[in-house]
């Protein structure tokens, strides 16, 4: 039942540019085929989509989805176990950490990027870095709020001769900086190759006691009164935000014989101010690529006019 509802929502979304469909109507038509006439869901969906295509006087291709799967932008995936078709570019290939994984990396389309995984058991042709493919029958996957796509045995891979401008899926969030969390300011990172873990009391959770390397970062919280956004400023962004360089921070900590003075100084200079930041979302965090302090005087007259209309 809910499954049909999901399909109905997909269909409504697929036609959103062309027809103003009602989810309940679509679901009723699917339900009629599936439960009354015992048509398999996929076939029922195909049939319903076809009838709407006729109604809208469209070709199937106009919907972007070839096989009746949802046409969803990679950065717009927000559902687990959804079957989708995409045309995407292989943006990055990573080293597989498990023997069962054939390939892992990033796929990108106009909307942005998402992680993909292909398993050994699926026995698929290899994707080449930088190439663009038409991929049909991918399944979406969710882990701790992060979405990815899985290639599987039924996935068809067709290399296509087109260039894709991979979208920038940066999030932009704004609000008052209401907290700078522990682990901010002057920190030490593990120096081992490919390990950049932040040390806790001089220990890396992977490599034990190590001679750490100093770095700057801020783990902050932007709050607009309706929602909170956790953001991470890397060294460059932290230096731009606070006006304090890594060397100055080290000197300050040296003088005080205490690294916590750095975060304290940063708190005094930034907490309670309004900022807008943008950058990719990574788990709970927005990694700050760009930020601006919202320091322009507000237009009180405009605010008043808007407020009176609420």
């Amino acid at each position: 039942m809910t499954d049909l509802h999901t399909h109905a929502e997909d269909i409504v979304a697929q036609f959103s540019d062309h027809l103003d469909l009602d989810v309940d109507d679509v679901e009723e038509r699917l339900d009629n085929l599936v439960n009354e006439y015992r048509v398999p869901v996929d076939e029922a969906r195909r049939s319903v989509v076809n009838s709407y295509l006729d109604e809208a006087d469209l070709d199937r291709d106009a919907l972007g989805g070839g096989g009746g799967n949802a046409a969803v932008g990679l950065a717009e995936i927000d559902e687990d176990e959804q079957w989708i078709d995409v045309t995407a570019k292989v943006v990055e290939l990573w080293e597989a950490r498990s023997d069962s994984v054939a390939q892992v990396g990033l796929l990108g389309d106009e909307t942005g990027t998402t992680k993909f995984v292909a398993f050994e058991t699926s026995d698929l042709p290899e994707l080449a870095d930088g190439a663009v493919y038409r991929l049909e029958n991918l399944v979406t996957d969710e882990y701790q709020g992060n979405f990815s796509v899985k290639l599987n045995r039924t996935t068809t891979i067709t290399e296509v001769d087109e260039e894709i401008e991979v979208g920038d899926d940066a999030e932009t969030v704004e609000g008052a900086l209401v907290d700078i969390q522990s682990g901010s300011g002057l920190i030490k990172r593990c120096p081992e190759d490919d390990c950049t873990r932040v040390l806790q009391n001089g220990r890396c959770s992977e490599h034990g006691d190590v001679e750490g390397e100093f770095d700057l970062r801020i783990k902050g919280v932007l709050d607009d009164g309706d929602a909170v956004h956790e953001v991470i400023f890397d060294r460059e962004a932290t230096e731009a935000l606070t006006g304090m360089t890594l060397d100055e921070a080290k000197d300050m900590a040296m003088d005080a014989l205490d690294t916590t003075v750095v975060a304290e100084e940063m708190r005094a200079d930034t907490l309670g101010r309004y900022y807008r930041v943008s950058g990719p979302q990574f788990g709970r965090y927005v990694l700050v690529d760009d930020f601006e302090r919202l320091s322009d005087p507000i237009d009180a007259e405009a605010a008043l006019i808007e407020a009176r209309s609420i």
């Binding site: 709020g145 209401v178 009164g225 909170v228 005094a268 907490l271 309670g272 709970r284 605010a303 609420i310």
Partner: protein
């Protein structure tokens, strides 16, 4: 989705409405469950963010330092109290010289007086000196959030609006008037000052 406990949003509320609040509640039996202050316009607040003018500060502690600050917004006065368990906020209050624009992130605290009335104050997590434009931005933002809450107050589906109607006997339209007056105040100071931002800059 993520199972990590979600951080409580810092609500925007003017002093007038904040000080009218008195009802607190929890949403689970858990001893460590967050305590919410019910705002009269129908929202739960476990944390608030406010910006105003620190007009007075006083160490009211007996023995240990215990700082009280009065922070004024266009509608009234917030009271903030910081002692040894809020060392950052306490040292900020110790060092600030009123009058000064300050931004405060903190938790609402209620206290019942001998005559049965309830006083509301803020236990600060942080207090920082800010400039006039930050303060103006807060006033505008808080007016907007207040008007949005007043607008949703009669919404039957709004759990906290319903709770506010049950717990309080207050005319929420007043908060609408107060919010609009606060914005009008900003607009007037714009006209007086040209750009509305001529107060001393930070630092």
């Amino acid at each position: 989705m993520s199972q990590a406990p979600t951080r409580e949003v810092a609500r925007r509320v003017f002093a007038r409405e904040f000080n009218d609040a008195s009802h607190t509640f929890k949403e689970s039996e858990d001893e460590r469950a967050p305590v919410y202050l019910l705002l009269p316009t129908g929202e739960r607040a476990n944390r608030v963010f406010l910006v105003g003018t620190l007009t007075e500060k006083e160490d009211v502690g007996e023995g240990d330092e215990y700082w009280r600050g009065r922070i004024v917004d266009p509608t009234g006065t917030f009271f903030v109290y910081a002692g040894q368990y809020q060392p950052d906020a306490a040292s900020a209050l110790r060092e600030l010289e009123p009058p000064a624009y300050v931004a405060v992130v903190g938790k609402p605290r209620t206290y019942e007086t001998d005559d049965g009335s309830v006083n509301v104050s803020v236990r600060p997590e942080s207090i920082t000196a800010v400039d006039a434009t930050t303060r103006d931005r807060w006033v505008a933002e808080t007016a907007t959030r207040t008007l949005e809450r007043v607008g949703a107050f009669d919404d039957e589906g709004d759990e906290y609006a319903r709770m506010a109607r049950e717990e309080y006997d207050l005319a929420v339209d007043e908060y609408r008037e107060v919010a609009l007056a606060a914005l009008e105040g900003l607009d007037e100071s714009d006209e007086l000052n040209g750009d509305g931002a001529d107060a001393p800059a930070e630092h």
